[in-house]
Symmetry: C2
Subunit: 163 residues, 2 copies
DNA sequence: CTAATCTCTCAAGTTAACTTCAGCACAAGA
DNA sequence: TCTTGTGCTGAAGTTAACTTGAGAGATTAG
């Protein structure tokens, strides 16, 4: 079929630069997201990445989700629930939205709860840590953030002893 | 050598191990907090750290604050507002509590706002990113977390164009 | 007095989410 | 065609908040 001249494959897809411009993300970040399995651009015969329009939405979703406190891993998992064979529909995105909303609701509730205990505990001068609600490790929200904090709340064993 | 006998200085203060037990923190974490200027134990003549009872409260405050999403730097700054010449009073702690509460209120409000926009935007399938409120960089909460994210929202320049 | 614990310091490792850089290949425009 | 401008890869750096490990001294239980 191809008399294979130069055979200029029509410029299928957007370059990483174009995507970067439209999303506001740095190309390096976009490549990183690929490593993390968030986007799966195809390559030109010379190895350059080419993205689809739908990828802009995926990446934008990442930015929004991150600002809401979700990790890349969580976001990837959510995106993996989108159909891979067809372009995600409105319903598909709504399903994700609901999952995230549930998580958000829980976090907001948790923060509100801790905030309400703040005055009562820290504010009181914490003269009796032993019965301070904020010290309950189950209530101390597992901070969303980085790094080893492994032992956080692992052995607050003798908190009830004295102050 | 020493004409002075053993001269047992009375065991002033708690050892790092004792503090670790009472707070549930690892000794390494406590030493790290010292580097960060959160606690200032004095040393025995042989170089071991000795803490005061009040340090337990400082460290507990750190744990609580972290679970509320505050960084070590923010926590240190708050603690620095405590009087250094006398043991902090109830009122001293309450002042800090209020500052943190304000911050918490703002963050909760922000999260609630974004959450409410979630369904409307992601849920809708985001057919028109151009007028999506979640894309407003000013609204995208500056995520509390680690690492370079410097450019996040730095140049979402052409977001209003298409896509 | 000894063995078992504890502590100390300093360097290096860890996670997350990226960035920066070096060296090289391809693409676009005057 | 020659010159910029992009893009690619892989390795290493960055921040935060700590942990882990090595080598050596200090404390304590028996």
């Amino acid at each position: 079929m191809k008399t294979k001249q130069k055979l200029r494959l029509r410029p299928t897809g957007l370059t990483i630069g174009a995507i970067a411009e439209r999303t506001g993300l740095a190309p390096s970040a976009i490549r990183y997201y690929e490593e993390e399995g968030i986007v799966h651009p195809h390559r030109t015969d010379t190895g350059q990445r080419r993205y689809e329009r739908a990828d802009i939405r995926r990446l934008s979703f990442v930015m929004i989700s991150q600002s809401l406190g979700f990790s890349i891993a969580e976001i990837r998992d959510a995106l993996n629930s989108l159909p891979s064979n067809r372009t995600p529909s409105k319903a598909d995105w709504q399903a994700i939205s609901e999952r995230f909303r549930k998580d958000l609701d829980a976090r907001i509730a948790q923060m509100t709860k801790l905030r309400d205990q703040l005055d009562g505990c820290i504010g009181c001068g914490c003269l009796s840590l032993s019965n301070c609600k904020l010290y309950n490790p189950d209530d101390r929200a597992k901070t969303r953030g980085t790094g080893p904090r492994y032992l956080m709340g692992d052995s607050p064993s003798d908190l009830g002893k004295n102050a």
